[in-house]
Protein backbone atom coordinates (compact mmCIF):
# COMPACT_ATOMS: atom_id res chain seq x y z
CA UNK A 1 0.00 0.00 0.00
CA UNK A 2 2.76 2.42 1.00
CA UNK A 3 4.75 1.54 -2.11
CA UNK A 4 1.66 2.14 -4.26
CA UNK A 5 1.04 5.51 -2.62
CA UNK A 6 4.67 6.50 -2.99
CA UNK A 7 4.70 5.53 -6.68
CA UNK A 8 1.43 7.32 -7.33
CA UNK A 9 2.65 10.52 -5.69
CA UNK A 10 5.95 10.24 -7.56
CA UNK A 11 4.06 9.89 -10.86
CA UNK A 12 2.19 13.10 -10.08
CA UNK A 13 5.35 15.19 -10.06
CA UNK A 14 6.00 15.13 -13.85
CA UNK A 15 2.30 15.80 -14.47
CA UNK A 16 2.35 18.88 -12.23
CA UNK A 17 5.59 20.04 -13.86
CA UNK A 18 3.96 19.51 -17.26
CA UNK A 19 1.00 21.61 -16.09
CA UNK A 20 3.34 24.46 -15.15
CA UNK A 21 5.01 24.24 -18.59
CA UNK A 22 1.65 24.34 -20.41
CA UNK A 23 0.38 27.27 -18.33
CA UNK A 24 3.66 29.15 -18.78
CA UNK A 25 3.69 28.59 -22.55
CA UNK A 26 0.00 29.48 -23.00
CA UNK A 27 0.60 32.86 -21.46
CA UNK A 28 4.06 33.57 -22.91
CA UNK A 29 3.18 32.62 -26.46
CA UNK A 30 0.12 34.86 -26.41
CA UNK A 31 0.19 37.53 -29.11
CA UNK A 32 0.59 41.09 -27.88
CA UNK A 33 3.30 42.67 -25.79
CA UNK A 34 2.66 42.51 -22.01
CA UNK A 35 5.17 45.37 -21.48
CA UNK A 36 3.04 47.64 -23.64
CA UNK A 37 0.07 46.73 -21.49
CA UNK A 38 2.01 47.85 -18.44
CA UNK A 39 3.58 51.07 -19.70
CA UNK A 40 1.13 52.08 -22.40
CA UNK A 41 1.68 52.74 -26.11
CA UNK A 42 3.20 56.20 -25.63
CA UNK A 43 5.88 55.35 -23.05
CA UNK A 44 9.47 56.35 -23.95
CA UNK A 45 11.83 53.59 -25.08
CA UNK A 46 13.96 53.72 -21.88
CA UNK A 47 10.87 53.24 -19.69
CA UNK A 48 9.79 50.35 -21.91
CA UNK A 49 13.27 48.78 -21.68
CA UNK A 50 13.47 49.23 -17.91
CA UNK A 51 10.06 47.62 -17.31
CA UNK A 52 10.96 44.81 -19.69
CA UNK A 53 14.15 44.21 -17.69
CA UNK A 54 12.47 44.50 -14.27
CA UNK A 55 9.85 41.90 -15.27
CA UNK A 56 12.59 39.65 -16.66
CA UNK A 57 11.00 39.59 -20.10
CA UNK A 58 14.34 40.29 -21.83
CA UNK A 59 15.72 36.92 -20.67
CA UNK A 60 15.54 33.65 -22.65
CA UNK A 61 12.21 31.81 -22.39
CA UNK A 62 13.71 28.83 -20.57
CA UNK A 63 15.22 31.11 -17.90
CA UNK A 64 11.88 32.87 -17.56
CA UNK A 65 10.24 29.46 -17.03
CA UNK A 66 12.63 28.50 -14.24
CA UNK A 67 12.09 31.87 -12.56
CA UNK A 68 8.34 31.32 -12.89
CA UNK A 69 8.64 27.80 -11.42
CA UNK A 70 10.78 29.03 -8.54
CA UNK A 71 8.28 31.78 -7.81
CA UNK A 72 5.36 29.34 -7.94
CA UNK A 73 7.12 27.04 -5.47
CA UNK A 74 7.50 30.02 -3.12
CA UNK A 75 3.81 30.87 -3.52
CA UNK A 76 4.54 33.94 -5.63
CA UNK A 77 2.17 33.96 -8.63
CA UNK A 78 3.10 37.44 -9.82
CA UNK A 79 1.25 40.76 -9.81
CA UNK A 80 -2.07 41.54 -11.44
CA UNK A 81 -1.50 44.11 -14.19
CA UNK A 82 -5.05 45.41 -13.90
CA UNK A 83 -5.51 45.48 -10.14
CA UNK A 84 -1.86 46.04 -9.14
CA UNK A 85 -2.16 43.42 -6.39
CA UNK A 86 -0.41 40.07 -5.91
CA UNK A 87 -2.24 37.30 -7.81
CA UNK A 88 -1.88 35.00 -4.78
CA UNK A 89 -3.79 37.54 -2.69
CA UNK A 90 -6.59 37.77 -5.29
CA UNK A 91 -6.74 33.97 -5.47
CA UNK A 92 -6.86 33.65 -1.68
CA UNK A 93 -10.10 35.63 -1.76
CA UNK A 94 -11.55 33.76 -4.72
CA UNK A 95 -10.63 30.14 -3.86
CA UNK A 96 -13.09 29.74 -0.93
CA UNK A 97 -15.94 31.05 -3.13
CA UNK A 98 -15.17 28.52 -5.86
CA UNK A 99 -14.55 25.65 -3.42
CA UNK A 100 -17.85 26.34 -1.69
CA UNK A 101 -19.74 26.06 -4.98
CA UNK A 102 -17.72 23.03 -6.13
CA UNK A 103 -18.40 21.08 -2.93
CA UNK A 104 -22.07 22.12 -2.77
CA UNK A 105 -22.57 21.02 -6.39
CA UNK A 106 -20.81 17.76 -5.64
CA UNK A 107 -23.05 17.11 -2.61
CA UNK A 108 -26.10 17.84 -4.76
CA UNK A 109 -24.86 15.54 -7.53
CA UNK A 110 -24.13 12.67 -5.12
CA UNK A 111 -27.46 13.06 -3.34
CA UNK A 112 -29.56 13.13 -6.53
CA UNK A 113 -27.36 10.72 -8.49
CA UNK A 114 -26.96 7.94 -5.93
CA UNK A 115 -30.62 7.90 -4.89
CA UNK A 116 -31.94 7.90 -8.46
CA UNK A 117 -29.30 5.36 -9.53
CA UNK A 118 -30.28 2.95 -6.75
CA UNK A 119 -34.02 3.31 -7.47
CA UNK A 120 -33.35 2.80 -11.16
CA UNK A 121 -31.30 -0.37 -10.60
CA UNK A 122 -33.62 -1.91 -8.02
CA UNK A 123 -36.60 -1.34 -10.31
CA UNK A 124 -34.75 -1.97 -13.58
CA UNK A 125 -37.09 -1.88 -16.56
CA UNK A 126 -39.88 -0.13 -14.63
CA UNK A 127 -41.33 3.29 -15.41
CA UNK A 128 -39.21 4.80 -12.60
CA UNK A 129 -36.08 3.37 -14.24
CA UNK A 130 -37.05 4.76 -17.63
CA UNK A 131 -37.79 8.21 -16.18
CA UNK A 132 -34.48 8.26 -14.28
CA UNK A 133 -32.47 7.25 -17.33
CA UNK A 134 -34.22 9.81 -19.55
CA UNK A 135 -33.50 12.37 -16.82
CA UNK A 136 -29.84 11.28 -16.83
CA UNK A 137 -29.64 11.66 -20.60
CA UNK A 138 -31.15 15.14 -20.32
CA UNK A 139 -28.71 15.92 -17.52
CA UNK A 140 -25.67 15.29 -19.73
CA UNK A 141 -27.27 17.22 -22.61
CA UNK A 142 -28.42 20.36 -20.81
CA UNK A 143 -25.91 23.23 -20.71
CA UNK A 144 -25.40 23.99 -17.02
CA UNK A 145 -25.37 27.76 -17.55
CA UNK A 146 -28.75 27.56 -19.31
CA UNK A 147 -30.20 25.48 -16.50
CA UNK A 148 -28.86 28.15 -14.15
CA UNK A 149 -30.74 30.84 -16.07
CA UNK A 150 -33.94 28.77 -16.06
CA UNK A 151 -33.65 28.30 -12.28
CA UNK A 152 -33.19 32.06 -11.91
CA UNK A 153 -36.28 32.60 -14.07
CA UNK A 154 -38.37 30.23 -11.97
CA UNK A 155 -37.14 30.62 -8.40
CA UNK A 156 -35.84 34.20 -8.42
CA UNK A 157 -37.92 36.05 -11.01
CA UNK A 158 -41.32 34.33 -10.81
CA UNK A 159 -41.51 32.78 -7.34
CA UNK A 160 -39.04 35.23 -5.74
CA UNK A 161 -37.92 32.59 -3.24
CA UNK A 162 -34.21 33.05 -3.83
CA UNK A 163 -31.92 35.89 -4.96
CA UNK A 164 -31.09 36.24 -8.67
CA UNK A 165 -27.32 36.35 -8.14
CA UNK A 166 -24.57 37.36 -5.74
CA UNK A 167 -22.58 35.82 -2.94
CA UNK A 168 -22.95 35.49 0.82
CA UNK A 169 -24.75 32.61 2.46
CA UNK A 170 -26.79 29.53 1.71
CA UNK A 171 -29.56 31.26 -0.21
CA UNK A 172 -27.03 32.44 -2.81
CA UNK A 173 -25.58 28.96 -3.10
CA UNK A 174 -28.70 26.84 -3.75
CA UNK A 175 -29.40 27.74 -7.39
CA UNK A 176 -25.85 27.55 -8.77
CA UNK A 177 -25.19 24.31 -6.87
CA UNK A 178 -28.43 22.82 -8.18
CA UNK A 179 -27.66 23.86 -11.77
CA UNK A 180 -24.17 22.34 -11.63
CA UNK A 181 -25.17 19.35 -9.54
CA UNK A 182 -28.01 18.30 -11.85
CA UNK A 183 -25.74 17.80 -14.84
CA UNK A 184 -23.22 15.92 -12.76
CA UNK A 185 -25.86 13.82 -11.02
CA UNK A 186 -26.68 12.32 -14.42
CA UNK A 187 -23.25 10.69 -14.64
CA UNK A 188 -23.40 9.59 -10.99
CA UNK A 189 -26.87 8.09 -11.53
CA UNK A 190 -25.72 6.12 -14.58
CA UNK A 191 -22.63 4.81 -12.77
CA UNK A 192 -24.58 3.92 -9.61
CA UNK A 193 -27.23 2.12 -11.66
CA UNK A 194 -24.80 0.01 -13.65
CA UNK A 195 -22.69 -0.79 -10.58
CA UNK A 196 -25.80 -1.71 -8.53
CA UNK A 197 -27.09 -3.92 -11.35
CA UNK A 198 -23.79 -5.83 -11.26
CA UNK A 199 -23.81 -6.18 -7.49
CA UNK A 200 -27.45 -7.17 -6.90
CA UNK A 201 -26.99 -10.19 -9.16
CA UNK A 202 -24.12 -11.51 -7.08
CA UNK A 203 -24.28 -14.48 -4.73
CA UNK A 204 -23.72 -12.56 -1.50
CA UNK A 205 -26.85 -10.50 -2.14
CA UNK A 206 -28.84 -13.66 -2.77
CA UNK A 207 -27.42 -15.07 0.48
CA UNK A 208 -28.43 -11.93 2.36
CA UNK A 209 -31.97 -12.31 1.04
CA UNK A 210 -31.98 -16.04 1.87
CA UNK A 211 -31.02 -15.19 5.46
CA UNK A 212 -34.36 -13.42 5.64
CA UNK A 213 -33.02 -9.85 5.75
CA UNK A 214 -35.40 -7.10 4.77
CA UNK A 215 -35.10 -5.70 1.23
CA UNK A 216 -33.99 -2.29 2.52
CA UNK A 217 -31.15 -3.82 4.54
CA UNK A 218 -30.11 -5.98 1.58
CA UNK A 219 -30.07 -3.04 -0.81
CA UNK A 220 -28.66 -0.25 1.34
CA UNK A 221 -26.39 -2.21 3.73
CA UNK A 222 -25.08 -4.97 1.53
CA UNK A 223 -25.49 -4.08 -2.13
CA UNK A 224 -24.99 -0.29 -2.07
CA UNK A 225 -21.82 -0.49 0.03
CA UNK A 226 -20.23 -2.73 -2.56
CA UNK A 227 -21.62 -0.82 -5.50
CA UNK A 228 -20.19 2.48 -4.28
CA UNK A 229 -16.61 1.72 -5.33
CA UNK A 230 -16.78 3.10 -8.88
CA UNK A 231 -19.06 5.88 -7.66
CA UNK A 232 -16.53 7.06 -5.07
CA UNK A 233 -13.82 7.11 -7.73
CA UNK A 234 -16.11 9.05 -10.01
CA UNK A 235 -16.81 11.56 -7.23
CA UNK A 236 -13.08 12.16 -6.77
CA UNK A 237 -12.53 12.63 -10.49
CA UNK A 238 -15.60 14.81 -10.86
CA UNK A 239 -14.69 17.19 -8.08
CA UNK A 240 -11.82 18.54 -10.16
CA UNK A 241 -14.04 18.95 -13.19
CA UNK A 242 -16.75 20.61 -11.12
CA UNK A 243 -14.16 23.15 -9.98
CA UNK A 244 -13.53 23.85 -13.67
CA UNK A 245 -17.27 24.10 -14.34
CA UNK A 246 -17.63 26.79 -11.72
CA UNK A 247 -15.90 29.16 -14.18
CA UNK A 248 -19.10 29.45 -16.22
CA UNK A 249 -21.53 29.20 -13.33
CA UNK A 250 -19.84 32.02 -11.43
CA UNK A 251 -20.44 34.23 -14.45
CA UNK A 252 -24.15 33.28 -14.53
CA UNK A 253 -24.65 33.97 -10.82
CA UNK A 254 -22.09 36.80 -10.48
CA UNK A 255 -20.10 34.99 -7.80
CA UNK A 256 -16.66 36.50 -7.10
CA UNK A 257 -14.73 33.23 -7.46
CA UNK A 258 -11.80 32.04 -9.55
CA UNK A 259 -13.92 31.77 -12.69
CA UNK A 260 -14.91 35.42 -12.65
CA UNK A 261 -11.35 36.37 -11.83
CA UNK A 262 -10.16 34.44 -14.87
CA UNK A 263 -12.77 35.79 -17.28
CA UNK A 264 -12.08 39.35 -16.14
CA UNK A 265 -8.37 38.60 -16.54
CA UNK A 266 -8.90 37.41 -20.12
CA UNK A 267 -11.07 40.35 -21.12
CA UNK A 268 -8.57 42.87 -19.69
CA UNK A 269 -5.55 40.82 -20.90
CA UNK A 270 -4.36 40.50 -17.31
CA UNK A 271 -2.24 37.41 -18.01
CA UNK A 272 -0.70 36.83 -14.56
CA UNK A 273 -4.24 36.41 -13.16
CA UNK A 274 -5.24 34.00 -15.96
CA UNK A 275 -2.01 32.09 -15.39
CA UNK A 276 -2.60 31.85 -11.63
CA UNK A 277 -6.18 30.60 -11.94
CA UNK A 278 -5.26 28.05 -14.62
CA UNK A 279 -2.40 26.75 -12.53
CA UNK A 280 -4.31 26.43 -9.27
CA UNK A 281 -7.34 24.77 -10.89
CA UNK A 282 -5.21 22.31 -12.89
CA UNK A 283 -3.19 21.33 -9.82
CA UNK A 284 -6.47 20.90 -7.90
CA UNK A 285 -7.69 18.51 -10.59
CA UNK A 286 -4.43 16.53 -10.44
CA UNK A 287 -4.80 16.34 -6.64
CA UNK A 288 -8.43 15.21 -6.93
CA UNK A 289 -7.35 12.46 -9.35
CA UNK A 290 -4.71 11.36 -6.84
CA UNK A 291 -7.27 11.34 -4.00
CA UNK A 292 -9.68 9.31 -6.18
CA UNK A 293 -6.97 6.72 -6.79
CA UNK A 294 -6.10 6.55 -3.10
CA UNK A 295 -9.79 6.22 -2.15
CA UNK A 296 -10.15 3.37 -4.64
CA UNK A 297 -7.24 1.49 -3.09
CA UNK A 298 -8.43 2.13 0.47
CA UNK A 299 -11.96 0.97 -0.29
CA UNK A 300 -11.11 -2.18 -2.22
CA UNK A 301 -8.94 -4.62 -0.26
CA UNK A 302 -8.40 -6.69 -3.45
CA UNK A 303 -6.46 -3.85 -5.05
CA UNK A 304 -4.47 -3.32 -1.86
CA UNK A 305 -3.41 -6.98 -1.85
CA UNK A 306 -2.36 -6.82 -5.49
Amino acid sequence: MRTYLFRRILLMIPVVLGVTVVVFLIIHLAPGDPVLLLVGERAPQEVYDRVRHVWGLDRPLIMQYFTFLGNVLRGNLGMSIQMRRPVAELLAGAIPVTMELGFAAMAMAVFIGVISGVISAVRAGSAADQVTMVGALLGVSVPGFWLGQLLILLFAVHLQWLPVSGYGGLKYLILPALAMGFADSAVTARTTRSSMLDVIRQDFVRTARAKGLGERVVIYKHALRNAMLPVVTLIGLDLGYLLGGTVVMEEVFSRPGMGRLMINGILSRDYPVVQGVLLILAISVALCNLLADIAYVLLDPRIRLQ
Binding site: V19, V140, S141, V142, L153, G244, L278, I283
Partner: protein, 274 residues
Protein backbone atom coordinates in the same frame (compact mmCIF):
# COMPACT_ATOMS: atom_id res chain seq x y z
CA UNK B 1 -26.43 -9.50 -35.87
CA UNK B 2 -24.27 -6.86 -37.54
CA UNK B 3 -23.22 -3.73 -35.74
CA UNK B 4 -25.28 -1.46 -37.97
CA UNK B 5 -28.37 -3.60 -37.41
CA UNK B 6 -27.76 -3.58 -33.64
CA UNK B 7 -27.39 0.18 -33.84
CA UNK B 8 -30.56 0.87 -35.83
CA UNK B 9 -32.60 -1.63 -33.79
CA UNK B 10 -32.57 0.75 -30.83
CA UNK B 11 -35.40 3.25 -30.91
CA UNK B 12 -33.21 5.85 -29.18
CA UNK B 13 -30.68 5.51 -32.02
CA UNK B 14 -33.40 6.03 -34.62
CA UNK B 15 -34.64 9.14 -32.80
CA UNK B 16 -31.05 10.41 -32.54
CA UNK B 17 -30.33 9.85 -36.25
CA UNK B 18 -33.58 11.54 -37.33
CA UNK B 19 -32.85 14.51 -35.06
CA UNK B 20 -29.27 14.84 -36.35
CA UNK B 21 -30.53 14.69 -39.96
CA UNK B 22 -33.13 17.38 -39.18
CA UNK B 23 -30.43 19.64 -37.71
CA UNK B 24 -28.20 19.04 -40.75
CA UNK B 25 -31.06 19.94 -43.11
CA UNK B 26 -31.86 23.07 -41.08
CA UNK B 27 -28.19 24.10 -41.21
CA UNK B 28 -27.89 23.44 -44.95
CA UNK B 29 -31.11 25.25 -45.91
CA UNK B 30 -31.04 27.99 -43.25
CA UNK B 31 -31.45 30.91 -45.73
CA UNK B 32 -34.59 29.27 -47.17
CA UNK B 33 -36.05 28.11 -43.85
CA UNK B 34 -35.48 31.25 -41.78
CA UNK B 35 -38.34 33.77 -42.08
CA UNK B 36 -35.91 36.71 -41.69
CA UNK B 37 -32.18 37.34 -42.03
CA UNK B 38 -30.20 36.76 -38.83
CA UNK B 39 -28.96 40.37 -38.92
CA UNK B 40 -32.24 41.97 -39.99
CA UNK B 41 -33.11 44.54 -37.31
CA UNK B 42 -36.44 46.17 -36.70
CA UNK B 43 -36.03 48.74 -33.94
CA UNK B 44 -39.78 49.32 -33.82
CA UNK B 45 -40.35 45.77 -32.65
CA UNK B 46 -37.68 45.16 -29.99
CA UNK B 47 -38.19 42.50 -27.28
CA UNK B 48 -41.56 41.46 -28.68
CA UNK B 49 -43.13 38.33 -27.20
CA UNK B 50 -43.73 35.34 -29.51
CA UNK B 51 -46.44 36.16 -32.03
CA UNK B 52 -47.68 35.14 -35.47
CA UNK B 53 -45.04 37.34 -37.14
CA UNK B 54 -42.21 36.24 -34.90
CA UNK B 55 -42.87 32.71 -33.65
CA UNK B 56 -40.14 32.87 -30.97
CA UNK B 57 -40.27 36.62 -30.39
CA UNK B 58 -37.63 39.28 -31.09
CA UNK B 59 -34.43 40.33 -29.30
CA UNK B 60 -33.16 43.71 -28.08
CA UNK B 61 -32.44 44.81 -31.68
CA UNK B 62 -35.77 43.59 -33.03
CA UNK B 63 -34.14 40.59 -34.70
CA UNK B 64 -36.25 37.46 -35.17
CA UNK B 65 -35.18 34.86 -32.57
CA UNK B 66 -36.35 31.88 -34.66
CA UNK B 67 -34.29 33.01 -37.65
CA UNK B 68 -31.22 33.47 -35.49
CA UNK B 69 -31.71 30.01 -33.98
CA UNK B 70 -32.03 28.49 -37.46
CA UNK B 71 -28.81 30.21 -38.62
CA UNK B 72 -27.16 29.33 -35.31
CA UNK B 73 -27.48 25.62 -36.21
CA UNK B 74 -24.76 26.23 -38.79
CA UNK B 75 -22.38 27.61 -36.16
CA UNK B 76 -22.97 24.83 -33.67
CA UNK B 77 -22.62 22.00 -36.18
CA UNK B 78 -19.60 23.58 -37.89
CA UNK B 79 -17.80 24.20 -34.61
CA UNK B 80 -18.61 20.68 -33.42
CA UNK B 81 -17.45 19.06 -36.68
CA UNK B 82 -14.23 21.09 -37.03
CA UNK B 83 -13.29 20.76 -33.36
CA UNK B 84 -13.92 17.01 -33.45
CA UNK B 85 -12.03 16.81 -36.76
CA UNK B 86 -8.97 18.52 -35.26
CA UNK B 87 -9.10 16.53 -32.02
CA UNK B 88 -9.68 13.23 -33.80
CA UNK B 89 -6.92 13.77 -36.39
CA UNK B 90 -4.30 14.88 -33.88
CA UNK B 91 -5.35 12.28 -31.31
CA UNK B 92 -5.54 9.26 -33.62
CA UNK B 93 -2.17 10.03 -35.24
CA UNK B 94 -0.41 10.51 -31.90
CA UNK B 95 -2.22 7.53 -30.34
CA UNK B 96 -1.28 5.30 -33.29
CA UNK B 97 2.38 6.38 -33.05
CA UNK B 98 2.41 5.76 -29.29
CA UNK B 99 0.74 2.37 -29.65
CA UNK B 100 2.68 1.06 -32.62
CA UNK B 101 6.23 2.21 -31.93
CA UNK B 102 5.99 2.56 -28.11
CA UNK B 103 9.25 3.46 -26.37
CA UNK B 104 10.12 7.05 -25.59
CA UNK B 105 7.60 8.39 -28.11
CA UNK B 106 4.79 6.65 -26.24
CA UNK B 107 6.15 7.96 -22.96
CA UNK B 108 6.22 11.56 -24.19
CA UNK B 109 2.80 11.39 -25.91
CA UNK B 110 1.05 9.72 -22.99
CA UNK B 111 2.76 12.13 -20.59
CA UNK B 112 1.30 14.98 -22.62
CA UNK B 113 -2.11 13.27 -22.47
CA UNK B 114 -1.88 13.16 -18.66
CA UNK B 115 -0.90 16.82 -18.52
CA UNK B 116 -3.74 17.97 -20.79
CA UNK B 117 -6.16 15.79 -18.83
CA UNK B 118 -5.23 17.62 -15.67
CA UNK B 119 -7.07 20.65 -17.02
CA UNK B 120 -10.86 20.69 -17.04
CA UNK B 121 -11.84 20.90 -20.75
CA UNK B 122 -13.66 24.21 -20.49
CA UNK B 123 -10.83 25.76 -18.51
CA UNK B 124 -8.09 24.86 -20.97
CA UNK B 125 -10.32 25.88 -23.88
CA UNK B 126 -10.77 29.27 -22.20
CA UNK B 127 -7.00 29.49 -21.73
CA UNK B 128 -6.32 28.79 -25.42
CA UNK B 129 -9.02 31.20 -26.56
CA UNK B 130 -7.50 33.85 -24.34
CA UNK B 131 -4.20 33.38 -26.14
CA UNK B 132 -5.65 33.09 -29.64
CA UNK B 133 -8.00 36.07 -29.11
CA UNK B 134 -11.75 35.48 -28.62
CA UNK B 135 -13.60 34.34 -31.77
CA UNK B 136 -15.14 31.37 -33.47
CA UNK B 137 -11.95 30.15 -35.17
CA UNK B 138 -10.08 30.30 -31.87
CA UNK B 139 -12.89 28.37 -30.19
CA UNK B 140 -12.70 25.61 -32.82
CA UNK B 141 -8.92 25.32 -32.57
CA UNK B 142 -9.02 25.45 -28.77
CA UNK B 143 -11.65 22.72 -28.63
CA UNK B 144 -9.60 20.54 -30.96
CA UNK B 145 -6.50 21.09 -28.85
CA UNK B 146 -8.19 20.13 -25.60
CA UNK B 147 -10.06 17.05 -26.87
CA UNK B 148 -7.29 15.13 -28.67
CA UNK B 149 -6.09 13.19 -25.57
CA UNK B 150 -9.27 11.04 -25.45
CA UNK B 151 -8.71 9.95 -29.07
CA UNK B 152 -5.00 9.38 -28.47
CA UNK B 153 -5.61 7.16 -25.47
CA UNK B 154 -8.30 5.16 -27.24
CA UNK B 155 -6.25 4.76 -30.43
CA UNK B 156 -3.16 3.69 -28.51
CA UNK B 157 -5.14 0.98 -26.69
CA UNK B 158 -6.62 -0.20 -30.00
CA UNK B 159 -3.27 -0.31 -31.77
CA UNK B 160 -1.62 -2.09 -28.84
CA UNK B 161 -4.15 -4.91 -29.05
CA UNK B 162 -4.25 -5.06 -32.87
CA UNK B 163 -0.51 -5.03 -33.57
CA UNK B 164 -0.15 -8.55 -32.15
CA UNK B 165 -2.89 -9.99 -34.39
CA UNK B 166 -2.13 -12.47 -37.16
CA UNK B 167 -3.33 -10.27 -40.00
CA UNK B 168 -0.80 -7.64 -38.97
CA UNK B 169 1.99 -10.19 -38.89
CA UNK B 170 0.86 -11.43 -42.32
CA UNK B 171 0.98 -7.86 -43.68
CA UNK B 172 4.49 -7.41 -42.24
CA UNK B 173 5.56 -10.74 -43.73
CA UNK B 174 4.51 -9.41 -47.13
CA UNK B 175 7.19 -6.78 -46.71
CA UNK B 176 4.94 -3.78 -46.10
CA UNK B 177 6.50 -0.85 -44.24
CA UNK B 178 5.39 -0.05 -40.68
CA UNK B 179 3.61 3.11 -41.81
CA UNK B 180 1.71 1.20 -44.48
CA UNK B 181 0.74 -1.55 -42.03
CA UNK B 182 -0.50 1.11 -39.63
CA UNK B 183 -2.49 3.06 -42.20
CA UNK B 184 -3.83 0.26 -44.39
CA UNK B 185 -4.36 -2.57 -41.93
CA UNK B 186 -4.44 -1.45 -38.28
CA UNK B 187 -6.09 1.96 -38.77
CA UNK B 188 -9.37 0.82 -40.36
CA UNK B 189 -9.77 -1.93 -37.75
CA UNK B 190 -9.17 0.47 -34.87
CA UNK B 191 -11.71 3.10 -35.91
CA UNK B 192 -14.98 1.79 -34.37
CA UNK B 193 -14.46 3.16 -30.84
CA UNK B 194 -12.98 6.34 -32.32
CA UNK B 195 -16.24 6.90 -34.24
CA UNK B 196 -18.22 6.43 -31.01
CA UNK B 197 -15.93 8.90 -29.24
CA UNK B 198 -16.28 11.39 -32.09
CA UNK B 199 -20.09 11.20 -32.01
CA UNK B 200 -20.16 11.84 -28.27
CA UNK B 201 -17.40 14.42 -28.82
CA UNK B 202 -19.69 16.40 -31.14
CA UNK B 203 -22.16 16.76 -28.27
CA UNK B 204 -19.38 17.84 -25.89
CA UNK B 205 -17.86 20.29 -28.38
CA UNK B 206 -21.22 21.96 -29.03
CA UNK B 207 -21.77 22.32 -25.27
CA UNK B 208 -18.32 23.84 -24.69
CA UNK B 209 -18.63 26.17 -27.69
CA UNK B 210 -21.94 27.45 -26.37
CA UNK B 211 -20.30 28.03 -22.98
CA UNK B 212 -17.41 29.90 -24.60
CA UNK B 213 -19.79 32.06 -26.62
CA UNK B 214 -21.86 32.63 -23.47
CA UNK B 215 -18.72 34.00 -21.80
CA UNK B 216 -18.05 36.25 -24.80
CA UNK B 217 -15.03 34.19 -25.89
CA UNK B 218 -16.56 32.31 -28.84
CA UNK B 219 -18.64 33.66 -31.72
CA UNK B 220 -18.71 37.47 -31.69
CA UNK B 221 -21.75 39.65 -32.42
CA UNK B 222 -23.72 39.72 -34.67
CA UNK B 223 -23.03 35.98 -35.31
CA UNK B 224 -26.13 34.06 -34.20
CA UNK B 225 -24.40 31.67 -31.78
CA UNK B 226 -26.83 30.04 -29.37
CA UNK B 227 -24.49 30.58 -26.41
CA UNK B 228 -24.10 34.28 -27.22
CA UNK B 229 -27.88 34.60 -27.62
CA UNK B 230 -28.33 33.15 -24.13
CA UNK B 231 -25.77 35.56 -22.78
CA UNK B 232 -27.50 38.64 -24.17
CA UNK B 233 -30.89 37.21 -23.12
CA UNK B 234 -29.65 37.24 -19.51
CA UNK B 235 -29.86 41.04 -19.48
CA UNK B 236 -33.58 40.88 -20.33
CA UNK B 237 -34.57 37.91 -18.19
CA UNK B 238 -37.40 39.87 -16.52
CA UNK B 239 -38.77 41.48 -19.68
CA UNK B 240 -38.13 38.84 -22.32
CA UNK B 241 -37.77 35.33 -20.87
CA UNK B 242 -38.20 33.80 -24.37
CA UNK B 243 -34.67 34.98 -25.13
CA UNK B 244 -33.47 32.62 -22.41
CA UNK B 245 -35.67 29.62 -23.19
CA UNK B 246 -35.44 29.17 -26.97
CA UNK B 247 -31.64 29.08 -27.63
CA UNK B 248 -31.13 26.80 -24.61
CA UNK B 249 -33.67 24.32 -25.96
CA UNK B 250 -31.87 24.34 -29.31
CA UNK B 251 -28.54 23.52 -27.63
CA UNK B 252 -30.17 20.81 -25.52
CA UNK B 253 -31.86 19.11 -28.49
CA UNK B 254 -28.79 19.03 -30.72
CA UNK B 255 -26.58 17.75 -27.89
CA UNK B 256 -29.23 15.19 -26.96
CA UNK B 257 -29.39 13.98 -30.58
CA UNK B 258 -25.63 13.35 -30.72
CA UNK B 259 -25.65 11.76 -27.26
CA UNK B 260 -28.43 9.38 -28.31
CA UNK B 261 -26.48 8.37 -31.44
CA UNK B 262 -23.21 8.07 -29.47
CA UNK B 263 -24.75 5.92 -26.72
CA UNK B 264 -26.39 3.62 -29.26
CA UNK B 265 -23.18 3.33 -31.30
CA UNK B 266 -21.21 2.49 -28.15
CA UNK B 267 -23.65 -0.29 -27.30
CA UNK B 268 -23.63 -1.58 -30.88
CA UNK B 269 -19.82 -1.69 -30.98
CA UNK B 270 -19.46 -3.18 -27.49
CA UNK B 271 -18.22 -6.75 -28.02
CA UNK B 272 -19.75 -7.84 -24.71
CA UNK B 273 -23.19 -7.19 -26.18
CA UNK B 274 -22.63 -9.36 -29.25
Amino acid sequence: MGRWKRFTKRSSARIGIIAVVIFLVVAAFAPWLAPYGYRAQNLNRVLEAPSHDHLLGTDEFGRDVLSRIIYGTRISLAVGAIAVGIGMTVGTILGAIAGYWGGWMSLVIMGLVDVVWSFPTILLAIGFVAVLRPGLTSAMIALGLVTWPSYARMMRAQVLSLREKEFVEAAKAQGLTDTRVLIRHIGPNAMSPIIVLATLGMAGAILVESALSYLGLGAQPPAPSWGAMLSSGRNFIYRAPWLTVAPGLAIMFVVLAFNLCGDALRDAFDPRKV
